[in-house]
Each structure stands twice: as C-alpha cells, then as structure tokens.
Symmetry: C2
Subunit: 286 residues, 2 copies
C-alpha cells in the first residue's frame, strides 16, 4: 500500500488506528488456546474480523510468534495471508520485528518480511546505520518504519542523549547539538523518502513529537503508547498531525486483551471503536 | 556455559574462535540443497563436525533461517539441538538475533532464544535501553551480547557520534563527551556483570577496542570482521585481550563458504585451522 492509498483509507474509515496483534498465550481464552492447532492465528482471525472496519493497519509483533517456535511462525504466516486477502481490505500491514543487521543479513530480514511474507512495512532499529536500513528501503512499494523515540522507560537511556551529529566538524558542534533520536531522524530521512520511510515515536513524550515533526514534515509517524502506557490521543494529534494526517496510532493490549473471556472480540471492537470515534472528531476538526 | 567454563574451553582448545553459521542458500552445494528436507541444518551439521575441534563457539545468524520460513526455523531448532548434544561439546552457543523491544516483548525474545531454544547467549541491540536489555540478563546462566561498535560501514552513522552521556548535568558535559558506543558500554555494564554480559566490537576499528577495554576491563568481547571484512587478528588481540583472554573472534563466510563445492567441509576445516593456529600462538605468547 502506498502513501496515497494509506491516506485515502484513513479518510474513508475516519480512522488512523493500527491494531497491534501481540497475542499473549497467557491471555488468550482457553476455548481458543485448547481447540486449535494454531491458536495465535485463530485468535488473530477473530480480532481482525472484529476490528477491521475501525482500523487502517494491523501490526503483529514478531516476538510473540517466535516464542511459540515453528508453529508460531506458521501462525504469523497465516495471519499475514489472512490480512492480505481479507474482503474488507486492503489494510496496511506492519511486521513489528525491530530488525537490522549488517547489509547481507539485513537483506535476508527484508526479504523475509517484505517479500516472502508480503507485509507492507517492517519496523527497523537504526543503531547499525545506513547499510542495515537500506535493504528494507530498496524493495519497491514497501516501507521501513525506523525506531526514533520509543514509548518504553529505556528510551531515556540513549535516545534522548544529546549528540553532535557531525562529529567531524568541531566548529559546528554547539549549533548541531541534538537528542540522539532527532539525529537519527535527520539522517534517516536522507536514505529514503516520505513514500517509503516512517518513524516510531512514543505517545508518552508528546513534547518531542512537535520537534521531530519540524525535522520530518512529510513523513508518517507510527505512534505507540496511548492508553495503557499513558499517552493522550488529542495531545498527540495536536503535536504531530500534518496536512496528510501523517500518523498511525497503535494500540495492542488495550484492544486485543480488553477481555480474557469469550467476549474478547466484542470488547476488542468496543475498545477500537472508542479510539476510532476520537479519531473521527480529530480528523473532522483538522 | 559460564565464564569460567568458557575460559577453560579456550585454554583446552587453544582457540577463541566462534564459527558463524550464516548459511546462504545460494552458496550451499547443490548436493545438499536438493537432497534434504532441512538443507540449512544438514549443511550446518557437516560444518560443525568439521570445525568443532578448532572452535569454542558457534553463532547462527537468525536472519538466514527466518528467510526460509517455518522450515528455516526448524533448521535453527535442529542446529541448536545438535550443538547442545554434540559428543565433542560443550561449546558456547550464540543466537545472533540482534533483538530488543519494550519489556514484555523482549521477554518473549529472551524466552525464545535462551530458554526454548536453549542458546547460551543472544546478541541484543541497545537502542531501546535498559528494559529492552534486562529480560536477557534476567535468565540465570545465560548471556546478553550487546552491540557496541559493529563492523559494518553504517557503524559510522550513529555509533561513533560524540554524545553527552549525562545530559542532565550541563556542567559535566565537556568532560563526559564520549562516542555513542562507549556511552552504551559504560551504561550497559551497570545492568549486568562480566558473568552475563559481552559486547560486540568490530575488528575493523582496532583503535576503538583499547578504549572500550579500559571501560570494561573484565568483559568478554565478541569480535566480527577479521578476514573478509579486513580486520587483523594479531592487532585486534593486542588491543583487547585481557588476563582471562576476554575475546571471542567470529568468522562466518570465510569458514563456512570457503568453498561452494562438495569439498566445503575440508575447506571450512582448513580455514578454521589457520585461525586456530594464529590463536594458539597469541595465547601462548600472552
């Protein structure tokens, strides 16, 4: 799905919601866990059907599939195939894999998620630099969603550290001082374009969103951390929405594990609907 | 395998060689690729048998298995099971996965590689900070090998950027200025100990090894980049060997794909032997 199709889907559904498919085996209702060969997929299938009218994107976190071994990997394969052939689609699909490695290994990861599994996008960790990111950008029609400022407490360890992006230019240092995540965004936008690059920015630090929006005015941001992690949707939108919306807001546990009982699909739909209604208002007043 | 057992294995084998099991389907001899259900595993099995007398550690790069889907994942499962039950073992086993995510997702990754698959260690990307790394350190008897300065060209994008590790202390700034990878090591050594934490440092930048050795005198370093990538073994050892050896040197393609023909096991053994002989001399003169 390209940028214009994504924006059109957002306008049609009046939603910029991404549903995080991070199914925790401990929280899946027993009726599903015990009755199926691929419980993660069966759970996802019901969640997808319950929320696809309200969401424009779905994001399986690969950690939750790998922990179930090769059977978990099969559930991931079945989930993306289900998403890509859903009659109510198309939806934007994100493999939340947070991968990156030296060039020839990163090519394997890019091929895995963007070609073999046919996701639209993969989340990518920028620490290893350009040759670890570019294999994801080199696949036509696909996206890299690069970690910038994440929503977890550990984001304060390195991502907010003040850096000199151009260390070779001693004279320019004082002017150039930037928090690491801004230096990451500033450099990464030169590797691709707003048509194939997004950034992960946590809703838990709304004051930082506006600063990154200035550096990357045209890029989409993928924003986790509203709800359980404490971020506020209106505040986040005020800080970083642009003329093309420019943001996807992710909610995982708040939707998929809203209930641990057999009514989990109804509760998931209700939780997604509450967010979609807020988004409708925000889009309407923008 | 704990630190003392690793050092003892190094002394016994007169080697600190780690063989990177990154089998590229394009480079595996046709006789293996076409004859087996799990060609990656069959290739690994022969490589392991050909090199286990010369190596103390084996490091499958997960990217090369995931790109083959659930069958590739099964090859990874079979490879680690083979390593962990090898009559010529024990060897130190590393899942080169370069993972990290927010806490609850990182726990899934740690469980996957260190508990379910039962590797001794996983490589971990530090960008997301303490709660993304600690789940790997929390598993008793297991290791996190944290990326510091990698051997690829992109290492110069962010890892060498000058940073102020304590951004809240404006007065201390000038004194505290450190390249990002040194700031990473300085902080990460406070999260674990030399008994459960190692660092990845590329052989391609030997001048940086001595600086990191000063920050982390007791930690093991995992060092890629000798051979194909241009690093020099003697120079590397001179910069960072400590009284407990303190380093594992990785070679992947230079060993496993030394030949693309049916003699690949003989050529792999020869390549491993050349490195082991250099290591024997270095250990002897230390």
């Amino acid at each position: 799905m390209n940028k214009q199709e994504l924006i059109q889907t957002i306008r049609e559904k009046k939603s910029f919601l991404c549903v995080g498919l991070d199914p925790d085996m401990e929280l899946i209702p027993p009726a599903i866990k015990n009755d199926y060969k691929h419980p993660l997929f069966e759970f996802n299938r019901i969640i997808i059907d319950a929320t696809i009218d309200l969401a424009v994107a779905f994001k399986p976190n690969v950690a939750f599939y790998e922990s179930q071994g090769s059977q978990g990997w099969e559930s991931l394969e079945k989930t993306i195939a289900y998403l890509n052939s859903h009659p109510k689609g198309p939806v934007f699909t994100i493999a939340d894999a947070k991968r990156a490695d030296i060039g020839n290994s990163s090519r394997q990861y890019a091929q895995t998620f963007l070609e073999n599994l046919d996701f639209d996008a993969t989340t990518v960790n920028p620490y290893m630099g350009h040759d670890s990111v570019k294999p994801f950008l080199d696949i036509p029609g696909k996206w890299a969603i690069i970690l910038a400022l994440t929503s977890n407490p550990g984001a304060s360890d390195f991502q907010t550290m003040d850096c000199h992006p151009d260390s070779t230019d001693m004279e320019a240092r004082t002017d150039d001082l930037l928090p690491l995540h801004q230096a990451v965004v500033k450099k990464c936008i030169t590797w691709g374009s707003p048509e194939n690059t997004m950034f992960v920015l946590g809703a838990t630090r709304p004051e930082s969103l506006a600063a990154v929006r200035k550096i990357a005015p045209e890029h989409f941001f993928l924003i986790p951390g509203v709800g359980a992690q404490g971020g506020n949707l209106q505040e986040v939108a005020a800080q970083c929405m642009n003329h093309e919306v420019g943001m996807l807001l992710n909610s995982s546990r708040g939707i998929i594990h809203a209930s641990r009982d057999d009514d989990f699909d109804i509760r998931a739909s209700e939780a997604a609907s509450r967010l979609q209604q807020q988004m409708d208002k925000i889009l309407d007043s923008a």
